[in-house]
Symmetry: D2
Subunit: 338 residues, 4 copies
């Protein structure tokens, strides 16, 4: 069995976490790194023992010994490298949000159709075993028809001052829950209403509360607070309720399954998404990359992380942000990708 040689494009904090996941997967070889910043490039090349380093992603894509790339650039800089990688025949793992406009999503999807490489968008929550189990149970008819949902995905203020200058909490985080709700219902969203609150005067508001209406009549609220106070005892306060007419599902992750009280603080660290043990990252991120490798090696487009699903989730969150700006309900006319 051959290992898939992968390059990582974009080496911010999450690009580094991608690398830490990749090195723990026996079917993957971290073969190349790319970022514009020379110091960062040298530092991560040293940390992971990677010889091939590039400051221009086109160089990396020109290397015939690279089978796949992971693209972790800023969300509004996804489109060009993704299309170029697909045109170069590479398998592409693209972080969420897929792009910053629906038009770009369409361009990417068109490139994917022409490529011999596969394209998977990194909607990691679908690899959280709790949501995965929920999906199985919903498919098995355990809760009947979904009539209402609500979600929360709140994170500490200390994490977000930098990121709030690049992306807001609705497109940045509620997109996870939007994608999950679309997955669970198998439905489409017909309208969005949202309110934001600017707490710290950064580029994007710190708080988003969103309400969706689904085509079936189901309703949903999504809470995303990116300014949880300093002593907040969890890394992520993540919850979802899915109410059917014959049952319901409640998910609460990552709190309170692990609580650590030390001299200084109470903490509930992530053990679901990318816990680090002995130098590499496990959890849902490892599962997600393992799935990507398996699809790539079979040459089959992934059933999880499909571009059209990622685009639908983006469309709804962009509509919510537009609603927050205008104060009006935003209607979402047509099914994406048709």
């Amino acid at each position: 069995m051959d290992r898939l040689r992968i390059g990582v494009i974009g080496l911010g904090w999450f690009g580094e976490i991608h690398c830490e996941a990749i090195v723990g997967i026996p079917t993957l070889e971290l073969a190349a790194l790319c970022t514009r910043t020379p110091d960062r490039l040298a530092a991560l090349a040293g940390k992971f023992g990677v010889r091939k380093t590039h400051r221009d992603y086109r160089e990396l894509l020109a290397d015939p010994n690279i089978d796949a790339v992971s693209i972790v650039t800023m969300w509004d800089q996804h489109t060009e490298p993704t299309i170029a990688a697909l045109e170069a025949g590479k398998h592409v793992f693209l972080e969420k949000p897929m792009a910053s406009t629906i038009a770009d999503c369409h361009k990417i999807m068109a490139a994917a159709k022409r490529s011999k490489g596969i394209l998977q968008v990194g909607h990691i929550c679908r690899f959280n075993p709790r949501y995965r189990m929920a999906k199985q149970e919903i498919e098995a008819g355990k809760i009947g028809k979904i009539v209402a949902m609500s979600s929360r995905r709140n994170i500490p203020a200390a994490w977000t001052p930098e990121i709030l200058n690049k992306i807001g909490p609705i497109v940045g985080d509620a997109i996870h829950d939007t994608d999950l709700m679309l997955w669970f219902t198998g439905d489409r969203i017909v309208s969005a209403y949202a309110q934001t609150v600017d707490v710290r005067g950064l580029k994007y508001p710190d708080i988003g509360q969103t309400m969706y209406r689904f085509s079936s009549g189901a309703t949903a609220t999504l809470e995303t607070v990116w300014c949880m106070p300093e002593k907040t005892p969890f890394d992520i306060d993540e919850r979802m309720s899915i109410i059917g007419d014959d049952g319901f599902i409640h998910i609460q992750d990552t709190f309170p399954n692990l609580g650590i009280v030390s001299r200084d603080k109470l903490q509930s660290p992530d053990t679901t998404y990318w816990p680090a043990f002995e130098g590499s990252r496990g959890g849902a991120l490892r599962e997600e990359f393992s799935y990507f490798v398996a699809c790539a090696q079979r040459g089959e487009p992934p059933a999880i992380g499909k571009p059209e699903d990622a685009a639908a989730a983006l469309e709804a969150t962009l509509a919510a942000e537009e609603s927050a700006r205008s104060g009006q309900v935003v209607h979402i006319g047509s099914r994406l990708g048709n």
Copy 2:
């Protein structure tokens, strides 16, 4: 010390619970009962050993030996008996919602101003020790300025088929959280947006999701599901998060502090609002009535359960229901009571 002699007007399921609370309070005497239905009147008179029974509340109000009344009629039949009782100089404990229109609230408030009796509206949640403690901590500046809130108040489907023909979940239940949010913020609500879902085809929809904007810029969502599936393991799934810019408060009542798994089911019974022990009701309901008696005996209007607060909560929930019908955001123009 004299006991306050009280009559109960309206003897539905909650009127009976009022009686069960009253008989456990040493400063109160359950002295008269009133309902139009003769069988029910006789049954409860027997159960509680009450001699004075009336089918017309005006008779009861004419009795000079009655000091106070508790009014537990249907929410749209509050106005007449309340005004009559106040005009008769009785102390009035009035169940929430205060009335069914803002115009009626104004009439009741005007009657209260002219009366020698006090008027307290039964917003029982303010006597839940958790919300009360939250209010103290907020007043003490522990969480800074409130920027976002969210609440849930979901109840089993089995409880609601009858009540959903009389009142919907937003005015019926989200009014509790609306009142609490107004109390915690000391602010007013400037707009409401809501979505409802009709699951069972009853007169009112089973589910309401509401979003408020406060004058300060704070945002809030309120979830009220009156059709929780049969095996739901709690009597009320009641939660509230209050996020400040310097701290936050999370309340979760009544689940999971007490879970009882019997042969047939898992249940988390109410121990907060009106738990029954040895023939009478304790909890917040007893506290609320005890507070009412203390205010009445001092002849001071209550600081908790003020009519103007109750009217403000009603106004916001009526606006939310209007929004759910129209699909539009509803703006709430003016401060109530000015």
Copy 3:
């Protein structure tokens, strides 16, 4: 209706809390205070507006205008004032543990039999609505026959340096769970095994773990840690599981129903036992005193807080402490009070 005039004997931190509860109860009048320390006596007399103050409890007991006393002296100084009060015909509310030896318990019970006053021992947990509901459900047969139990009652280290020089966690706190387990099973304890850990070198060890065998064959473990680390997010971590052969009950109090994250810490304050609102104490402590007054006014010995029950709980915890010292299982021969 007359108010019961009560004096409080012993004015440590919990004596003061007794006073704060008493002043909130309309059927009680805080009429006298007693402690040996003049400054403390003056301070609390001022705080509660009490004119009758005594440094010798015999003076207080000689006052014919006092109907009842609450005895909150150190646990090994309960016997003399309790017997004297009963001999003086006062109603006595006695804090737990009832005494420091079984011989003293017998003396107190004998005095109670001869007295016209009633005697109630302050096993407050029986007034926690969750345990009370559990007892009702067990009596109703909801969980079948009890086969195993486990409890936890852990408190912060910051609270205990002083108290650990007076009493240890097994007799001091596991006695609550011992009493509850005896109540729930209606059984007696036949053996005790316990281990303690001395963490801070105080007079009593900080930690106790106890195991009981009941006459029915049921088994139980009790955890009492009096040195929970500084950042522990709750005032009491209190849990009990009661496993029957046909159901089970889980109680978790007071965490997590209320969590308050402020700038400095996460806290889960008590809202069950003696929450303070507007200058007086509510919760189980108020319920307990109200019950005491009702019994005293009817002249009936209390069914909750019976001396023989309190003595049985003491006997088991003393046996556990003896086991912890000897390293051996301690067998408890005979039923107390027979």
Copy 4:
């Protein structure tokens, strides 16, 4: 990269789960199956598409194309096949408990020392990310010195009637927590006291409560109830508290991170140990096997799942069972493996 060809010996319910985990791991090939029961052998060979089937494990071990075996026979039938496999030079993954006597553990360890194959004992909890994170934090000094621990591992009565005729809850399940406690403390257990309860009259008692003393003075209780009532809403009620003198850790798995209320029941299914998705088992079991393969391919003995650790955990649980039979505290004299 070559795949490790593995055979599974013992095809009960958990042997099948081993197979389901193995087929999802790209570095493993499920190459052979062995059980005495022809029907079961044929059924699983068909299900997993395995051609090599054996009714005698010696045949399987004689096959030079088999690199490794997983031994999932009854716990008292581990010794012979394990020694034979090690003597045949195979890598061995051995389920816990390692054996049924300490003498057998010593024989297995001796065989492992002589073998070119590695030996890993399946203490799966060490691959639960929550315990793994706890271990990291303890090693990093976050909670200071461990002074007390407590654990619970309770499972539904419906699962256990058959298994209780083969093994009891202390050796069968408390061994997990025993192993974890030994891991966390890095200490040894010097005494054990335990009580069991026989609820259903099966070969082994349904309930075990165990108390350990560690060499450092730390104390621990372990609860294992194998008869949780029918409506119990979780697959495993698994909790551990680790109290240090400078912090503490609380772990609660798998409840309540996922709750599913269907028409018939409330359930909290396992998403930690071996959740099944798309035909194979993930979670800790997959991690554990992946770790085994990595160790085997490097030819290094595993640092997790070491035979001497497994033997120490067995020794303590056997002492606890002896204590439960004798009613006496059992002292554990010497460090195992020295």
